[in-house]
């Protein structure tokens, strides 16, 4: 009996608007509890929601980037249930007419490219947070997050395994960060994922009953939760039982999924159109403006880097796939002529430092300006590549200005040909044995002479000039 896994993902993306979906409270992360809460977010009697247009614009960017239908007229519905972090006792969401309809996204998994269909993406408000472990016998409610705009992206159940699920999640994350609609910071809950898993036999026409695992916010946990769930479901099905359609939670400590308590039992959400919110209309002009100003996506960047800047394919892909690196690249290129050198250093030395410290570029002390200075000083031969490496390390630690470091440490490359020639001549004079040995055929000793000149000049001699001069003198 071969079991086929069928997975669908619902990803909740926190849109990076400044204010909330229906109120003017701030969406900023990490504030003191209950300080980013407006009357509307508290659900006080008599308050009314007013929709944030920017949330719509951001949702539309997603729709355009996934070639999706954009519903220029969309409406809001109420989803009714009781939970302490849901102040109104209902969530405002879009059931009937979501802002974004069917679209597609390309993923790379298991060495292959696959297209996943997206069913829809709609706007809804986030709930607050329940803090369970701070107080004995009580749960604390913080409504800072309540009302933050979410874009819920629903995939078709076309994902076949955990690797594809992660690839899909990563692809969505890449799109939303590149589109500047979400900061993609998983640790802050900017993206959360509900995973629907069901099993079917390969020749079954119908899908099996699915279980929904809610609110996973790390790639590792998605993978583990899916693995556990597949195992659990197969065991049930093979023993003749049936899988219950239910909501489950993934426990990362015990590495298991378990059924959520009766909160979800028999929950009839009684959706109906929200009478406080009239339909929102996006005009043709607004749509065109958004389309015209759509930020470049990785695929487009990669193509452009290769065709216009003539980068190598591999370099282009690496730089284009990270928004922070692409930003650094593009900014630095504005300030120096040597784009290819910028790319080389980004992909090489800078990436090595990023990996060592396990951070993103925008978390480092390296600024685009400073990076551009470094590249400029290599291009104009002020410093050698080797010296530049040490300068970069200094910048990485201190954030100090490149030119100042070069000056303070006297790292300016020695270019003066006559000076170098004198030094070279002296080295040759002082080392007659090596000279003879070299002339006698020990070619490798050339490195010795280069090394000696470098030592004499504290590494500051221009290596190319040293090579040329020594060749001239020795050959």
């Amino acid at each position: 009996m071969t079991w086929q896994t069928v997975i669908g993902l619902e990803i909740h993306v926190q849109l990076s608007t400044k204010s909330k979906l229906f109120s003017g409270a701030s969406t900023g992360f990490g504030a003191e509890p209950n300080t980013h809460v407006d009357l509307i977010d508290m659900g006080l009697p008599g308050v009314l929601p007013v929709a944030n247009k920017d949330a719509f614009f951001k949702a539309i960017r997603f729709g355009l980037a996934t070639n999706a239908e954009i519903n220029q007229v969309s409406t809001f519905d109420r989803k009714n249930y009781f939970y302490p972090d849901l102040p109104k006792g209902y969530q405002i969401t879009q059931m009937a007419m979501p802002i974004v309809g069917k679209g597609t996204i390309k993923i790379f998994a298991n060495g292959e490219e696959k297209i996943i269909n997206i069913t829809r993406a709609h706007l809804e408000e986030d709930a607050g947070k329940s803090v369970h472990d701070l107080f004995e016998g009580e749960t604390g409610i913080d409504l800072n997050r309540a009302g933050t705009p979410l874009l819920e992206i629903v995939s078709e159940p076309e994902i076949a395994n955990a690797k594809e699920a992660i690839a899909y999640f990563k692809a969505i994350r890449q799109i939303v960060t590149f589109l500047d609609i979400c900061d993609g910071v998983m640790a802050e809950g900017s993206m959360r994922c509900d995973v629907n898993v069901s099993m079917k036999k390969t020749d079954d026409l119908e899908l099996g009953t699915r279980a929904e695992i809610k609110n996973i916010n790390s790639f590792k946990f998605i993978e583990r939760a899916i693995a556990f769930e597949i195992d659990r479901q197969v065991k049930i099905l093979e023993s003749g039982g049936s899988v219950a359609q239910e909501t489950r939670l993934y426990d990362s400590v015990k590495n298991e999924t378990r059924s959520m308590r009766s909160k979800e039992e028999a929950n009839d959400y009684r959706y109906f159109p929200d009478p406080d919110l009239l339909p929102v209309v996006i005009t043709d002009k607004e749509l065109e403006d958004i389309r015209a100003n759509l930020p470049e996506l990785p695929e487009q960047k990669e193509k452009r880097y290769i065709s216009e800047i003539k980068l190598e394919g591999s370099e282009a892909r690496i730089i284009a796939s990270s928004k922070t690196m692409a930003n650094m690249f593009e900014e630095a290129c504005l300030k120096t002529d040597d784009s290819k050198l910028v790319a080389k250093w980004l992909v090489g030395e800078v990436s090595a430092l990023l990996n060592k410290d396990n951070i993103e570029i925008d978390e480092s002390k390296l600024t685009a300006n400073n990076f551009a200075s470094l590249i400029k000083r290599i291009s104009d031969k002020t410093i050698s590549g080797k010296i530049a490496k040490s300068v970069l390390e200094e910048v990485w630690e201190s954030g100090n200005d490149v030119d100042e470091i070069i000056k303070d440490k006297g790292l300016v490359q020695i270019q003066d040909e006559s000076l170098l020639e004198n030094i070279a001549k002296k080295i040759i004079e002082d080392n007659p044995d090596q000279v003879n040995a070299y002339k006698g055929g020990k070619d490798r000793l050339f490195g010795f002479f280069v090394g000696q000149v470098m030592k004499e000049t504290q590494g500051k001699a221009n290596p190319q000039s040293v090579n040329e001069i020594l060749k001239k003198l020795l050959d």
Binding site: P45, G46, L48, P84, D268, P275, D276, L278
Partner: protein, 483 residues
């Protein structure tokens, strides 16, 4: 000279001519409130702040349109730092941190909010018998209901305690009590008055409005109450006219529609007589009566009793004992907190409507009830659109009869629901409508209803005013006529 039973217009004159100071006027108001305590028209009084405001006005006179006029506010409007209960135990300790737009508008126009008036709990009722704070009495007779849900406001105006009050109308809650108490009450076009701060019952039906002694005073109030409010996306952006401007225009040639489907033969003969008299009077003023058909109008009440409970079941979910309002004692867990806080906090009628509302929205029933009702609602609206191509205003009795005895509607909720059969259609269609006193039967007042087309408050006010300048039903008081 007593301020009792005076209109806004009259009180303004008294203040301007310095016949009475602002402070004296407010002191008299509070004396009247005290003397009429048995009516139980008020839940919370705002005495200290009111007297202070009046004193300030004496020192710094103001030209504002309602400067110094004492107004009673229905306890459904949030008033900053002043308890707001909605007639419910659930909010019996609720002090809002903000004021409703309509309250701010009225206060910016200079009026003094003397207190919050009693009402059916969460605006659900037609008799002000479901308030946690006890029944309100109709000044026209002991043990008589004032109507509802704006019973406290109606009673206070009818007793001459205040010249005007704010009310709200979802299925007739301004017009029906106005009729039963012999005063004038108007529900404007849906969206004319901002719902920000108005505690929601049924969002697509609720509208605030003035209750006063005359159409003219209603117009004065309406001028100040209406505004476009960006905090309420259902708030109209239309031009707001001066509603007093056309009051005196002649109604000669105006076409008044009579609804064929309102079978008046089913009403008490005395009630029919009152209505016929009014018709005759209008004919003498030059109006022309036209029979119109609103084929779906008899479905208004069942439509309403699907839509309103559905919306209210959702609107009242926020009353959960968690963030504000009453919480039950010693909840043993979250479920217990919810269930007991809500069951203790809400009265029976509210619970009934929440249950109906949840039912008609539930999976499997949504299409048959809620969706169906919204479709019938559109048919009703379309009927009105067609009718207004033939007539300028539509006229009907406001209520089936006069004020009934408290407790007499028995245990059948549907009997109470049918009280609103004339008033509900205007809410479903979002049209402006008002009740104008037009008779007295067995020493109990009656009102007639005028329904206008979308945005045509001025027209119904004009038709009402022409009636009031040639009749004196609106001048009658529970203890005899005043000049």
């Amino acid at each position: 000279m007593s301020i009792q039973f005076k209109t806004i217009k009259e009180l303004k004159k008294m203040l301007q001519s310095k016949e009475i100071s602002n402070k004296e006027m407010l002191e008299d108001t509070f004396s009247l409130i005290e003397d009429n305590k048995h009516l139980n028209a008020f839940i919370t009084l705002n005495k200290e702040a009111s007297l202070k405001k009046a004193e300030n006005l004496d020192n710094n006179p103001s030209e504002l349109p309602l400067a110094g006029i004492p107004i009673a506010q229905k306890d459904l409007f949030c008033t900053k730092d002043l308890r707001t209960t909605c007639g419910s135990n659930m909010l019996s300790n609720f002090i809002p941190p903000y004021s409703a737009t309509v309250i701010e508008n009225l206060e910016k126009a200079g009026c003094i909010s003397v207190g919050k008036t009693n009402m059916d709990e969460f605006a659900m009722g037609s008799s002000t018998e479901t308030s946690f704070f006890g029944n309100t009495e109709n000044p026209w007779g002991q043990g008589l209901v004032p109507g509802g849900s704006s019973g406290g406001s109606a009673s206070a105006v009818a007793a001459g305690i205040v010249p005007a009050a704010s009310g709200t109308d979802t299925g007739g809650s301004i017009r029906q009590p106005a009729s039963l108490c012999g005063i004038t009450g108007l529900k404007p076009t849906y969206g004319r008055i901002s719902r920000w701060g108005m505690i929601a019952f049924a969002s697509s039906l609720d509208q605030a409005g003035p209750m006063a002694r005359t159409a003219e005073d209603c117009a004065l109030m309406l001028n100040e109450m209406c505004s476009h409010d960006s905090k309420d996306t259902t708030s109209l952006d239309e031009n707001i006219p001066d509603f007093t401007k056309n009051l005196n225009s002649s109604i000669r040639g105006i076409k008044i529609g009579l609804v064929k489907e309102f079978d008046l033969s089913k009403l008490d003969s005395d009630v029919v007589k009152v209505f016929e008299e009014s018709k005759k009077h209008y004919e003498s003023l030059g109006a022309e009566f036209v029979e119109i058909s609103l084929p779906n109008i008899t479905l208004s009440v069942p439509t309403y009793y699907v839509v309103a409970p559905a919306e209210c079941s959702s609107n009242l979910s926020r009353f959960d004992g968690v963030k504000f309002g009453r919480r039950c004692e010693n909840p043993k867990d979250l479920e217990d907190l919810y269930v007991r806080s809500r069951s203790e906090g809400f009265g029976d009628e509210v619970k009934r409507r929440i249950l109906i509302g949840s039912y008609v929205l539930s999976a499997g029933f949504y299409d048959a009830y809620y969706k169906k009702a919204q479709q019938v609602r559109r048919l009703i609206k379309n009927d009105f659109v067609a009718a207004f191509e033939k007539v300028d205003v539509i006229m009907s009795p406001t209520t089936r009869g006069t004020a009934f005895k408290a407790g007499s509607m028995g245990n059948d909720p549907i009997q109470m629901y049918l009280e609103d059969l004339f008033t509900i259609p205007a809410n479903l269609a979002g049209l402006p409508a008002m009740s104008v006193p037009n008779g007295i039967v067995n020493n109990k007042p009656l009102g007639m209803q005028l329904i206008g087309n979308f945005l045509e408050e001025s027209k119904i006010l004009q038709v009402a005013h022409s009636y009031q300048t040639s009749t004196d039903w609106h001048l009658k008081t529970p203890n005899g006529e005043i000049s």
